[in-house]
Amino acid sequence: DAGVTQSPTHLIKTRGQQVTLRCSPKSGHDTVSWYQQALGQGPQFIFQYYEEEERQRGNFPDRFSGHQFPNYSSELNVNALLLGDSALYLCASSLGRRGAFYEQYFGPGTRLTVT
């Protein structure tokens, strides 16, 4: 049973560029959430996708956008990169049926460095 996978594992970009990160959920899961973890801090929620729509969003600017595909995989896009966007980006998958809570499982993360 494959767990949550993310690509790439590492990425170096220049300030002002754009980046796309990818995530495939755990088998059987239909919901993907993205988190940003700065060095020395806990992960911060960016947004969650369910049924190919953004269901919930954290306190992040519009430069952060996403997409979910019919096979439940997801992309995170960040435009106009800033030095402060350097972080570990984590993807989590879970079931997403309304009216219930489900355990979230995390991928290995993508480490983004902006120079």
């Binding site: 973890q37 806990g42 929620f45 984590l90 809570f101 355990e103 995390f106 290995p108």
Partner: protein, 110 residues
């Protein structure tokens, strides 16, 4: 929003020792998870425990939802237990995002 605090922030123990990590949260929660983050950044699920007590080998956890805290117990520590431990909570339906605590950095010395 909900506040999640963990204590202690840092813990250094000799191999074989026992430890208790605490997570306090400021509001009622419907989901609580404990994670271990290894040196490579991978978050490993330890417990899904919105209430009650669970055990898995040398680890156990207790959540007292009415008093808004959770405890993670690690017995007979091993060097592989080193890393950062996070608790994370979700508040209510329609707001299933996980809010993470401040973390406890555990170092086990051989």
């Amino acid at each position: 929003g909900i506040q999640v605090e963990q204590s202690p922030p840092d813990l250094i123990l000799q191999e074989g020792a026992n430890s208790t990590l605490r997570c306090n949260f400021s509001d009622s929660v419907n989901n609580l998870q404990w994670f271990h983050q290894n040196p490579w950044g991978q978050l490993i699920n330890l417990f899904y425990i919105p209430s009650g007590t669970k055990q898995n080998g040398r680890l156990s956890a207790t959540t007292v939802a009415t008093e808004r805290y959770s405890l993670l117990y690690i017995s007979s520590s091993q060097t592989t237990d080193s890393g950062v431990y996070f608790c994370a909570v979700a508040v209510n339906f329609g707001n299933e995002k996980l809010t993470f605590g401040t973390g406890t950095r555990l170092t086990i010395i051989p």
